[in-house]
């Protein structure tokens, strides 16, 4: 079964269908139905994936543009699979959460939901692509639906935020384009297929340049400090649902790209760059956390916490230990759920009161206990409380990093403490204390909103207690990745010099 093509096909056809539905309510229901079908299919596909089989499964390869050596090549390994699963889970939740988002600005409702499904197809495509050119196509093309979602449906500063988002990403993408072309030309294999290009670039200097082209694009996308400034703007201005997909999935393309492409295609250069990347990550972890503490806007605060989390993920990837890389992959999934939940609940809160600012709230817990409780669980996941999902991944990343780079790991661990500070302090200011006058009549979560939050909270708790099924899928692929990184260079540099 061509599972991946079916997934994308269903999303794209759904998007086309929704775009032509005249009735807004029907459009929403259709979108929800399509996204649930995609989720169901993804789950079926996941069940059929055999973790200890071939690295790439559900392989489809067709010639697309022979003149450029480009294929329509899709397949998944464990890492890609869990990220596709993450996307497929988040989309229906986001659809349900965005039920009234598009109406607020009196903009076309069906366009919004149609864009959402287009985005879903591209999110699946970008993780499934085994052809680097195809990956690039999705990488760039997925900016456009997100751009319209932020720009047309976002907050007051939306067009500024949308343009900043697009131009940052586009700039990184274009640098990557140069590297993609150069990779093709220098490798001289006449193909863009990723498996054939592993180990194709031998010369260390060339590797370094190409690595930079890819890495900067991914670092902007992820985003790592100091390329992060677009994220708080974009995430704060985007409608809550789009913000979830932006931070939860789109940004993961950056860290996924580092793991999949930077490490495997340019192992030598990745090792060369590791100290710098680890340093940037650690700075990001601490900086993101400290700046988050100082935020007055709830959504910006969550965005800054994500910058801190992306530091952890990048650090785990570049630690190049199996704990680090597996932990980072698991972190990508967990972060999608916990930050997704935070953004959505914050969105519900903001929708009720009409204000982004923390100071406008207080004592919400007394009037809306379910909302406050859900917010607390999501927040505790964000600060990696043991027993909740993020703890496992954060622990693995720190452990994996400590094996190689003890000092950075220790500094990064302070991020955990800071996380407790920013989450709990925000919770305290908004949910505890005397009930503010303006929130006194605030309704609690309604049925729809409970349905949005419940699956995420369940996942947060379940994955905290039983991360094994996911790790079983992730570990073999990460092992292959790490083997590829060192296989091309079996001998450590010291041994070589000794000869």
């Amino acid at each position: 079964m061509p599972w991946l093509s079916i997934l994308m096909g269903v999303s794209v056809l759904g998007a086309l269908g929704v775009a032509f539905v005249k009735d807004d309510r029907l459009a929403k229901q259709a979108t929800l139905a399509v996204s649930l079908v995609v989720l169901a299919l993804t789950v079926v596909m996941t069940v059929q994936f055999s973790p200890n089989g071939d690295r790439f499964q559900f392989v489809e390869t067709y010639d697309w543009i022979p003149a450029f050596g480009v294929h329509y090549g899709v397949a998944v390994d464990g890492v890609a699979l869990v990220l596709i699963l993450l996307s497929a889970v988040l989309v229906p939740i986001v659809v349900l959460a965005s039920w009234h988002d598009a109406e607020a600005g009196k903009r076309s409702v069906r366009t919004y939901f149609s864009l959402l499904l287009v985005l879903e197809a591209m999110m699946i495509g970008v993780f499934a692509a085994t052809d680097i050119f195809l990956f690039y196509v999705f990488f760039e093309a997925m900016l456009i639906p997100m751009y319209f979602m932020i720009g047309s449906y976002g907050g007051a500063q939306r067009s500024y935020a949308a343009v900043k988002f697009l131009l940052y990403s586009l700039f990184g993408g274009l640098l990557m384009l140069v590297a993609v072309i150069a990779l093709y030309v220098i490798a001289g294999k006449g193909t863009f297929m990723f498996p054939e290009l592993i180990g194709a670039i031998k010369d260390p200097t060339t590797q370094k340049w190409l690595f930079l082209g890819f890495f900067i694009a991914f670092a902007i996308k992820a985003p790592l400090w100091p390329f992060h400034t677009w994220l708080p703007d974009a995430a704060a201005q985007a409608p809550a649902g789009a913000a979830v997909l932006l931070v939860g999935v789109l940004d993961k393309v950056g860290t996924y790209g580092m793991l999949r492409f930077c490490l495997e295609l340019f192992p030598e250069a990745s090792k060369w760059a590791t100290p710098v990347v680890i340093a940037l990550s650690v700075i990001g972890i601490v900086y993101g956390a400290i700046v988050a503490i100082g935020q007055t806007d709830i959504k910006r605060l969550i965005a800054y916490t994500s910058i801190s989390h992306f530091g952890f993920i990048a650090m785990g990837v570049f630690a190049m230990t199996s704990n680090g890389a597996s932990g980072a992959t698991l972190y990508m999934v967990n972060h999608g759920f916990s930050t997704g939940a935070l953004f959505l609940i914050a969105g519900f809160l903001i929708y009720r009161r009409g204000s982004h600012f923390i100071e406008d709230y207080g004592g919400v817990q007394k009037v809306a206990p379910v909302l406050a409780g859900a917010f607390l669980v999501a927040g505790l996941s964000g600060l990696s409380l043991p027993g909740l999902n993020s703890f496992v991944s954060e622990f693995m990343v720190l452990l994996g990093t400590y094996e190689r780079y003890a000092v950075p790991a220790v500094i990064a661990a302070t991020g955990v403490v800071l996380a407790a500070l920013y989450i709990l302090w925000m919770y305290q200011r908004t949910m505890n204390g005397p009930t503010a006058e303006s929130v006194r009549s605030m309704p609690d979560l309604n049925i729809r909103e409970r349905w949005v939050v419940a699956p995420l909270l369940v996942l947060i708790i379940v994955l905290g207690l039983f991360p094994k099924p996911l790790l079983d899928v992730i570990n073999p692929s990460v092992k292959e990745t790490l083997t590829n990184v060192s296989v091309t260079h079996p001998a450590p540099a010291v041994a070589k010099e000794g000869q």
Binding site: F68, S108, E140, S159, L167, F171, V178, I181, A182, V185
Partner: protein
């Protein structure tokens, strides 16, 4: 004295002859047919001649490409020429559908703007049906220009192409002073550049003793001690050609002319003229001066960098949609120049050539589409030229704004549009040809250029419409067809570029005949 009759391969030259023949017939129609019949006669004559010429181009491509220059070595009908002819004829056909639309042209060109005569002509409903033969002559010139195998024919073609365009530029129905200014500017600057071209031709003749492109190339190796003639001649020739493509520092005419000219004529210039001029530029620099590439290459690098950067940066400051598209066209000329310097061995040359051909095809079509959209967004005083007037168009007419946004994304080179593959092809050829720094500059300019394309999208979709905003006219079938065709081509070539890439590759495979 014995004079042998020249051999003319009529069949090979048939596309040219048909277009020129139809143009002359058009002049006769103007002279003899009654006024009310003229338009009805011009339309089928013009469109059928272009379609017929296109059919002949296809027949020739299928029958096999000639390997020798035709008409005693004056015209080279080779693979690249046939491909370029094909593009130009398609583009010309669709722009003629735009020209065909009513009220783009002035009722009486000789009447002073705002005068009583003009008023009377308007009321009488006069039309200048001369635009059809004029456009055909221009198109004929565009066909001959990139096919010329010697510099004199090239000069003649240049003039045949340019003179009708100068006239057409001055015929806009609205903002007539601007239109006349643009015609005047274009004429004066164009005349200068033609003079440069001619002077360069003369000097090269002095150097090589021939105006034949291949013979100049041979002379490069054979003649010594005439370097002054050679370099001055080559430089002057280059100025003439670079002017026509609007490369910096010879780009100043483009925004003014594009802005003032009637929009369908702008579309013709932005597509057809650019394609033709690039064909000619390639022929001169790759054949006649092919062995001089060590000397012209660095200069061309500089020109390409300057053109990309100037086009991309100056476009940001524009407030007139047509001026913005003009600067965008300058930037794209720069991207194409990146392909011109990507030379090497024969294989590399054919890769570079095919990438340029593909780029020209996709850029031309998207350009015509974009200008066609511009003609449809109207204010009380004609087209809504000021960018601020476009605010909120996405709400008022989402389909049109959506299509225009799509064209802009194609200009910006976003994947899944044809523009992306055009840019990709040229950049890939350039990297393979060792012009990596040029590609980096190109990529940075693309990012800058993306800013102003995106700005228009922001205006259309993310801003609220002005209460007295422009209206979108109900398009005629011609205009609707053009927009539809351009949008379809931009989508299809953005997803399945392979067929056109194949065509471009096989056209470029044999390179230019000598």
């Amino acid at each position: 004295m014995n004079i042998t009759a020249p051999t003319i391969e009529y069949l090979q030259l048939a596309p040219l002859l048909i277009v020129f023949g139809a143009a002359i017939l058009g002049v006769l129609v103007e002279a003899f047919a009654p006024r009310y019949l003229r338009r009805a006669m011009h339309i089928p004559l013009t469109l059928l001649s272009l379609a017929g010429a296109f059919a002949l181009v296809i027949v020739q491509t299928i029958k096999g490409v000639p390997t020798e220059p035709s008409a005693m070595g004056a015209v080279a009908v080779d693979g690249p020429t046939l491909f370029i002819w094909g593009i130009i004829l398609v583009l010309a056909f669709v722009t003629l559908l735009l020209i065909n639309d009513e009220d783009h042209f002035v009722p009486a060109a000789s009447a002073v703007p705002g005068s009583a005569e003009e008023e009377r002509a308007l009321i009488e409903g006069n039309v200048h049906t001369e635009v059809y033969p004029l456009a055909l002559f221009a198109i004929g010139g565009m066909l001959l220009f990139p096919a010329s195998n010697d510099l004199l024919i090239m000069f003649v073609a240049l003039e045949v192409m340019s003179l009708p365009l100068y006239l057409l530029c001055g015929l806009a129905r609205r903002r007539r002073l601007l239109s006349q200014e643009s015609a005047m500017k274009y004429f004066l600057l164009g005349a200068f550049s033609s003079a440069f071209f001619l002077y360069g031709t003369a000097l090269l003749y002095g150097f090589a003793g021939s105006v034949d492109l291949a013979k100049i190339d041979t002379a490069l190796g054979a003649v010594g001690g005439q370097d002054a003639l050679l370099y001055t001649g080559a430089a002057l020739l280059g100025v003439g050609l670079l002017f026509k493509i609007g490369a910096a520092p010879f780009q100043a005419w483009k925004p003014d002319v594009y802005q003032g000219a009637p929009t369908p004529v702008t579309a013709l210039m932005a597509s057809g003229t650019l394609v033709a001029a690039f064909g000619a530029l390639l022929r001169v620099f790759w054949i006649a001066l092919g062995n001089l590439d060590w000397d012209w290459s660095p200069i061309m690098w500089a020109v390409a960098i300057l053109t990309m950067v100037v086009g991309a940066i100056l476009a940001i400051t524009q407030t007139d949609i047509k001026r913005m598209l003009a600067y965008s066209s300058i930037a794209h000329a720069g991207f194409l120049l990146v392909g011109v310097v990507a030379i090497g061995d024969a294989k590399q040359n054919s890769i570079a050539l095919s990438s340029i051909l593909f780029y020209l095809a996709v850029y031309g079509i998207t350009s015509v589409g974009a200008f066609a959209v511009v003609t449809m967004v109207r204010d009380a005083g004609g087209e809504a030229w000021h960018l601020s007037r476009w605010a909120g168009l996405g709400k008022r007419s989402p389909k049109l704004a959506g299509v225009f946004a799509f064209f802009l994304l194609a200009f910006a080179g976003i994947p899944l549009t044809s523009g992306f593959f055009g840019k990709y092809a040229v950049f890939q050829a350039a990297i393979a040809g060792g012009a990596l720094p040029l590609v980096v500059v190109g990529v940075v300019s693309s990012a800058i250029a993306a800013f102003f394309y995106v700005r228009v999208i922001v205006l259309m979709f993310f801003s609220d419409p002005a209460p007295d905003g422009p209206t979108v006219v109900l398009p005629s079938w011609g205009t609707a067809g053009v927009v539809g065709f351009a949008a379809l081509a931009t989508v299809v070539l953005g997803v399945f570029p392979q067929p056109v890439l194949d065509l471009a590759q096989s056209a470029a495979g044999s390179l230019f005949v000598r």
